[in-house]
Amino acid sequence: MDQYIGKMLDNRYEILERIGNGGMAVVYKARDHRLNRLVAVKILKPELASDADFRRRFHDESQAVAMLSHSNIVSVYDVSRSDGLDYIVMELIDGMTLKQYMRKRGIPLNWREAIHFITQILRALDHAHSRGIIHRDIKPQNVLILRDGSVKVTDFGIARIASAAQHTMTAEAIGSVHYISPEQAKGSHVDCRTDIYSAGVVLYEMITGRLPYEGDNPVNVAIQHISSIPIPPGELNPDIPPALESITLKAMAPDLNQRYPSAEAMLEDLKEFRRTPNMVVKTSDREEIEDEPTVVMTSAPEAPARPVRTRDRYEDQYDSRYDQRRERRRADPEEEYDDREDRGGGLASAAPAIAVAAIIIFIVGMGVFVWNVFISPLLNPGEPERYTVPDLLGYTREELEASPDLLDGFEVEWGSETYSEEYEEGQICNQSPEAGEEVLAGSRVIRVNVSSGKDELKMPYLINQEYRRAQQTLMEELGMVVKVEREYSDEITQDYVISTDPEEGADLVEGQTVTLVVSQGPAAVPVTVIPWVGMSLSEAERQIRDMGLVVTEVKQYASNEYAAGIVTFQSIQPGEQAFKGDGIVLWVSTGPEPTPTPTLEPTPTPTLPPTETPTDPPVTEPPATEPPPTQAPPTEAPPTEAPPPVTEAPPTEQPPVGGEEQ
């Protein structure tokens, strides 16, 4: 392919060097001699250029993409064909892909940074969608991060062009399917919401550090996008605020009706989240989602779902912060959030003004963040002016307002109230950045939290929470001793809390023992085991599966009684009771023993030690179809008392003919 280097296309673009290679095209750095600037030139691969229909689509789609003009989208300058080459001329970006960035920085990313990136991605999508262009292949490899921290999305429409090439290819060759929407995986009609899903996956990856679905081949991954439910982000990274988790999962909703209808709608929620981090993300008003404990249903986001702590400290903090805001709004609308839009507005316009102010504060905060974390390490530290952060700890708001000199030219971003052992109610109890740190001009914002006094220990609301997280909240944040009891429940998902003792709101003493009653799923369904000895393995396995049991192991066993492939023994005897989901071990004949010598010594050695005091003696009188005792494999005691916990869902139906192979 390097034949192109040094070549001049259209007497205008001089190909300088190769900078990338995609499935469809090779990307070169080039000089545009007419405008005297560097550009990226993407040349279609010759095997694809030979397909007339494909070339037509390539041009049509590229022309459409060239109409997009947005600061978060890589610009397409020109679409051309010369000397038998089809190529696109694009903005040359000096930066790295989000994938590379995540790899370099280490994931998960700080969620604030993730929001910064996803917001820009969504703006790009919003613009493209408004012009009828669906990206179809949103993934971190298609998101470029520039040196200034801004984001540009590239390769709009490419996926659609690529799918027009109907060359046979192996599943391995189709590239990443880790971000593919369920409707795309199914081949159904797609609309702009497919990009929302993929953006949701990107957000998921940024904040949790892992992909929602992984598998040993692309087909498995695609299937999971169709039929699996991801682990909620908060379980992978407890730092993630619940509302952000809800936003992520709503973007990734497999059901189109549950998903954000547009990039704009998701941007709205992200905006709201920055303003009110304890916000409640509304699910679609169609119906409730089952098994979605992270999404709280409410029609009135104004009313905090729970007056006391829910979920964890985040929400708690933000609850009080929210309340604090509302009170202030009532009391003195112009005092703190005074800004241009608000002047002359009075009470009625205060709310939007506050919103705007909050956004501005957030954006400024983001700016500091992006600068500190991202931009400044990239730039060579020059000689910009630096400012030392003053110590605000212990001051009250009133004191700061009375003596603005204390701020030393810094602005204050008032965060939530939080419990403090050290500082009294109303005093600033922590600040970020800390006193003594140096910041650059333009970053002179200090985020503070105000003490709400000492923590009074109250039992939080934990029902329907994942119990390990509830346990963590109780132990680590409240210093409780936790006792877990298990009960069957048809309503509460396995591993989620059914009830607590004491109940929500009760006063707690540090070191107190609290009890979590945790669901172990629906009550066990008993089944009576039938004989499978003498049957072919495949038939036995089918029957066992139909009965709701699981074949955990198939052991090979030489047998003179049974032909090869026939079941000779089963670990749970006919007539015994088992429970759905229980495992069973089968022994299968490998045919007669190779040596004709008598089969006196038992061939297999026990793989397990003789069991610990089984309540039932090993079965000594097998039914008529059983092999004679000498043939019987070691009698591992069948699980007689508590069934083993069901650790895995029963195997889902596999396609009959190993279709999922690589």
Binding site: K45, P46, E47, S50, D51, A52, D53, F54, S163, Q166, H167, T168, M169, T170, A171, E172, A173, I174, A185, K186, G187, S188, N217, V219, A222, I223, I226, S227, E653, P655, P656, V657, G658, G659, E660, E661, Q662
Partner: protein, 245 residues
């Protein structure tokens, strides 16, 4: 038994990456094979050409010394032939940078007196045409087939899935490959149709059957299938191999 084979580059592609072959030893003993190659530049055509040759040569070699008596032995002939084809393509791809990543589908049939054995890898298919109906004897190793098996989409939706070109198994991309083998009893008048997806993406099963019923002459039947495909724009290479018992 009469055998016919034909292939066409189609109306869109520049290269024909399909290959086919058939060999007949006796009046009622023959091997037929169709391969649909994949890979950049010309490598797809290389893969399919090498595979049809290796497959049919191996079958002939194994059968020439005397046909195995047992069905299992005959099935093994096909398995060994697929293995041989896989080895040849794989070795070529490993040892020549220009062939890197190439591979091919394969559908092959061993027709014997009163019976036939079918082997397949990938999404090239074998149909039995009998009593005015077309029965697909092979199950594709493809992404859309997985979706169909799981009940996510229907067979009809699979025909229009944008990813219907993605196969889950191919000859020559790995050191080993699994194939499915099927045996069926044949009757005089049966037609065995082997084809690449360039045919089945354009003509559905009903059309394959209707044409067969309408065309008593097997060669003209095969030609009619090809012609219809071309009339409809033939987006892909199209190959038909037909045996009339």
């Amino acid at each position: 038994m009469k055998l016919y084979g034909m292939t066409d580059v189609g109306r869109v592609r520049r290269d024909n990456q399909d290959s086919y072959a058939f060999r007949q030893w006796t009046e009622d003993t023959a091997v037929l094979v169709v391969c649909d190659g994949m890979g950049g530049a010309q490598s797809g055509s290389v893969a399919s050409a090498v595979a049809v040759e290796a497959f049919s040569a191996e079958v002939e070699k194994l059968c020439a010394g005397g046909m195995p008596n047992e069905p299992e032995g005959r099935e093994r002939v096909l398995i060994q032939a697929v293995t041989a084809a896989n080895r040849r393509v794989y070795d070529l791809a490993q040892n020549n940078p220009e062939y890197e990543g190439m591979g091919t589908t394969l559908v092959g049939a061993l027709a014997l007196p009163g019976e036939a054995y079918i082997a397949n890898v990938g999404d090239s298919r074998c149909y039995l045409l009998r009593d005015g109906a077309a029965r697909q004897l092979t199950i594709d190793h493809s992404y859309v087939q997985v979706l169909v098996n799981r009940g996510e989409i229907t067979q009809e939706e699979a025909r229009h899935h944008p990813r219907r070109n993605v196969i889950t198994r191919a000859v020559g991309v790995d050191s080993e490959v699994g194939c499915d083998i099927r045996r069926l009893e044949t009757r005089p008048g049966d037609r065995l149709l082997l084809c690449s997806d360039g045919l089945t993406n354009v003509l559905d099963d009903g059309e394959l059957a209707a044409r067969s019923a309408a065309e008593a002459d097997p060669e003209r039947y095969a030609a009619a299938l090809l012609e219809t495909t071309l009339e409809r724009g033939a987006p892909d290479n199209v190959t038909v191999v037909l045996a009339e018992i």
